[in-house]
Symmetry: C2
Subunit: 323 residues, 2 copies
């Protein structure tokens, strides 16, 4: 199968950016411009773990596989270049919306429709990959490569006491549909680089409070969160109508928002706001020297839950208590 | 599981080369030295498609997953830098030699033993990856990154009429054990670059004649093969004792030798032999203008089989006939 599928794919790739040497050799060759470092990330999604075939179109699943990797590239303040796509295709027929796809090649082509859509939208080359047919669920593994200015990738570990805690968009309720077609915040990389030195960044894949907790742990700081300032997505409100939890809880704990959490100095945050007065970026607190996540209430600081989705299928709750 | 496993892994990685930013952030950051391009390849192996758990130790399977990717890097004339490792781990217990591994973490650690061995041996950093637990067979996907001098990667498409057809070592019978611990020919990259302009290269993953056929197709040439000159591995002889085919057939058609096929000009081949008189590299024919694979016999050129392993599970045979 591989050879004929690759011939089809090569035809489809003509509208995408290229690389120095693409699909068809033992490996791809990709330029890394002077003054930049390579950024590389990989993420796999699997049927019945990360999505459910039959409930979602295969093309949408292909889109999602690209977007979650693109979001990691955005969280590094990098620009995406090329993707390597590995598909493990079930021998069994797959339900794709109203269509039953009996062949692995058909399944691959349907998934690739979404991958190519995302690649086109973000100017990413498909530089290589692998295809296997096996007795198992559909699995999509994408390695995404990009570049960032040398020494200036946005890490999790650079937040310092006094930095503003910024979130790039409204949170919560992504399960209502946004989780399938998340918006990697690559659009923010150049605007932010133009007027700020981003001290630390992470994308929200497992939940705002949990991913913030990770950024804080890497930076050796804590955060004081102004919960009233957190932008709540309308989907979080809708979800709360049936979930029994508040919209704020959804905003704090739901995963797959794929917005960024950033640490910016006061000067940089003012400069960014002056340059982009209509920005949807919101300051939702400060990084503090004391570790842990905290919110200020009537009786002083109150320790907050770090809750969210932990890979492996459990929700985590990390302690709670007044101080 | 992911967080605690990554903590263990980070400890184990201390003896390996590092990258600018490794495991633990949203993506890895890797330097690409000036004057070099990035080389990237990805290959997945899956239980009951590419190996059989229970028959082989999990550590050996980890080694193999690395080696097949390292071989692709060697075939580009590149130097490996870093690997991204994605494991899909079965929820079910796995037979690992005499041990039954009940937990996904245990399986991951056993596979990683082999991956780390290979990484150490070839000076490769583990820069990132992903772990999933699912209802399916063990699957290992590795993306290997390396670098090659800009504009000087060894492609499949550069062989010209008159070039020597070189093979880097004895062929055939890899199923007797070598297929599990193949030797990627990274040791040849610098010696060859020192005295030759390699016109074209491919590694033998699916069989000498089939991979040669691919190199010829990419270069738009054919090859005249001196079958008597082909170095035959002792394993090919052993295999032929029970297989019903000749040692030569095993050398021509067995896959997973992971030696390289090279195209070198006469001058470069002489220069290489002068510099490395004890080389195991062997000239086994010439590239010719007429397409197809040919061997010279008593009655002139005879068209040869291009046979080998095609992914998807079938052997291919590509025509045969006198001329």
């Amino acid at each position: 199968m591989e050879q004929s599928f690759l011939a089809w794919l090569r035809g489809r790739l003509r509208s995408l950016p290229g690389v120095a040497v693409g699909i068809g050799d033992d490996a791809a060759i990709i330029d890394c411009p002077p003054g930049r470092q390579l950024v590389a990330t990989t993420d796999a999604i699997i049927d019945r773990v990360d999505f459910v075939t039959g409930e979602h179109a295969l093309a949408d699943i292909g889109v999602k596989a690209m977007m979650i990797n693109l979001s990691d590239i955005a969280a590094m303040g990098a620009t995406p270049t090329a993707a390597l796509v590995t598909l493990a295709l079930p021998t069994q027929a797959i339900q794709d919306g109203a269509v039953t796809r009996g062949g692995a090649t058909e399944t691959a082509a349907a998934v690739y429709e979404g991958i190519l859509q995302a690649a086109e939208r973000f100017g990413v080359a498909i530089a290589g990959g692998d295809l296997s047919v096996y007795d198992g669920p559909l699995s999509i593994t994408i390695t995404l490569l990009g570049t960032a200015p040398t020494g200036a990738g946005w890490l999790r570990c650079g937040a310092v006491e006094g930095d503003h805690l910024i979130v790039t968009g409204p949170l919560g309720g992504s399960l209502l549909g946004r989780h399938l077609n998340p918006r990697p915040r690559l659009d923010l990389v150049e605007p932010l680089r133009g007027c700020a030195d981003v001290h630390a960044a992470i994308d929200i894949s497992d939940g705002f409070s949990l991913d913030l907790d990770r950024l804080c742990a890497a930076s050796g700081v804590g955060a004081e969160i102004d919960t009233a300032a957190i932008p709540i997505h309308p989907d979080a409100v809708t979800r709360s109508e049936t979930s029994g939890t508040t919209p704020l809880d959804h905003a704090l704990g739901d995963g797959e928002d794929f917005e960024l959490i950033l640490a910016l100095s006061d000067d940089d945050w003012k400069r960014f706001q002056a340059a982009y007065p209509d920005t949807e970026l919101t300051a939702v607190g400060r990084f503090i020297g004391r570790t842990g996540l905290w919110s200020r209430g009537d009786r002083g600081l109150r320790r907050m839950l770090a809750s969210g989705f932990i890979h492996g299928g459990q929700r985590r709750t990390d302690g709670e208590g007044d101080t």
